[in-house]
Point group: C2
Chain length 148, copies 2
DNA sequence: TATTGTTATACTCTATAACTATA
DNA sequence: TATAGTTATAGAGTATAACAATA
C-alpha cells in the first residue's frame, strides 16, 4: 500500500504509528501480568503520589473520574492498590499495596526491556533529542506536559 | 501529580502522551466532518490506492479485516467510498467517490492546520529530525536474529 | 454551589470465531 | 486448503448524566 505525502508529512500520523508500535510491544511484554501499559502507568503514579485521590489520578492520565473509578476498581480487585480514608470524607487516598509494589517492579523491568529493544537503533544522543522534541509538541501557549 | 523517572525515561510513555495530544487536537479539527483522524487516514489510503481491497486497507491501518469491514461500512454510508467489483469474485475494489474526495480535501487541510499548530515550537530542521527518529523506532532490522 | 465518589448507560474501536463464496 | 468478505458477539477503554455525601 502506497502511503503518500499527505500521510508521511503529518507529524500526528507518524506519532500515531510510533505509538502503536511501542504500545503493542509493551503490551506483549506485560502479558504475564494481565495489565495494560496504561494500568502500569497508573500504578506508578499511585506509588509516586501516595494518598492521591481518584480524580487527580484521572487528571494525570487524561481520563475522567468515572473512568478512573473503573481503573482503580480493577487494580483494587487484583490486590495491587487500596482505597484509604482521604483528606476529607469525600475523597479516597490511594495506596499501593506490597503485592502491587512487588508486581510493579517486575512490570517496569519488562516494559523497560521492551522500550530498550524498540529504541535500540537510536544512540543515546538521539534518544535525548527524541525526548526533547516530543516534550515540545503542543500549542505555543501550552505549558509543559506535567502542568495542571 | 509527580511523574518520576520511571515514566519520564520511557520513550513509549512520551510517545503515548504526544500521541494523545496530537490525536485530540486533530479530532477537534475534524469535528465538523464527523470522522476521526483514523477514518481520514483510511480515506487517504483509498484515494492513493484506488481499487485496493478491504484486507489490504486493514493491513495498512494495522486492523483486521473484520474491523476494516466496519470502517468501510461507515465511509460507504456517508457516500464517501464505494465497493466495486474486484480482481476476482471474492474481493472488493474500494474507490473514493467525488463527495468523499471533496470532503477529504477539507479534512486534510484542517488536520494540517492542527498539525502545524501543535508543532509550531519546532524548527524545520527539528521537524525533520523528529520524523527521522520516529521512523527508526522498532526492533532492529535486516539481520538473521529474530527477523520475521 | 462545587466537588468526590459512585452507578448506569452508551459509544468507539478492535478482536475472535464462524459462515459463504470463491480461488 | 486458503483467502475475501461478512456477520455475530465480546471486550477494552472512554464518556455523559445523574445521584448522594460532603465541602
Amino acid at each position: 500500500m502506497k502511503q503518500g505525502a499527505d500521510l508521511q508529512t503529518l507529524v500526528g500520523y507518524r506519532v500515531q504509528r510510533a505509538n502503536l508500535l511501542m504500545e503493542t510491544d509493551a503490551r506483549a511484554a506485560l502479558s504475564d501480568f494481565d495489565l495494560s501499559p496504561a494500568k502500569m502507568t497508573a500504578l506508578i503514579l499511585i506509588r509516586d503520589n501516595p494518598g492521591c485521590d481518584q480524580t487527580a489520578l484521572g487528571r494525570a492520565l487524561s481520563i475522567n473520574r468515572s473512568s478512573a473509578m473503573k481503573l482503580v476498581n480493577i487494580l483494587a480487585d487484583k490486590g495491587f492498590v487500596e482505597r484509604r480514608p482521604g483528606r476529607d470524607l469525600r475523597t479516597n487516598a490511594l495506596a499501593l499495596l506490597p503485592e502491587g509494589a512487588r508486581q510493579l517492579e517486575k512490570m517496569v523491568a519488562a516494559v523497560r526491556r521492551s522500550d530498550a529493544r524498540m529504541t535500540q537503533r537510536l544512540s543515546a544522543d538521539e534518544l535525548a533529542t527524541l525526548h526533547d522534541l516530543l516534550a515540545r509538541l503542543g500549542p505555543a501557549t501550552g505549558l509543559s506536559d506535567d502542568e495542571g
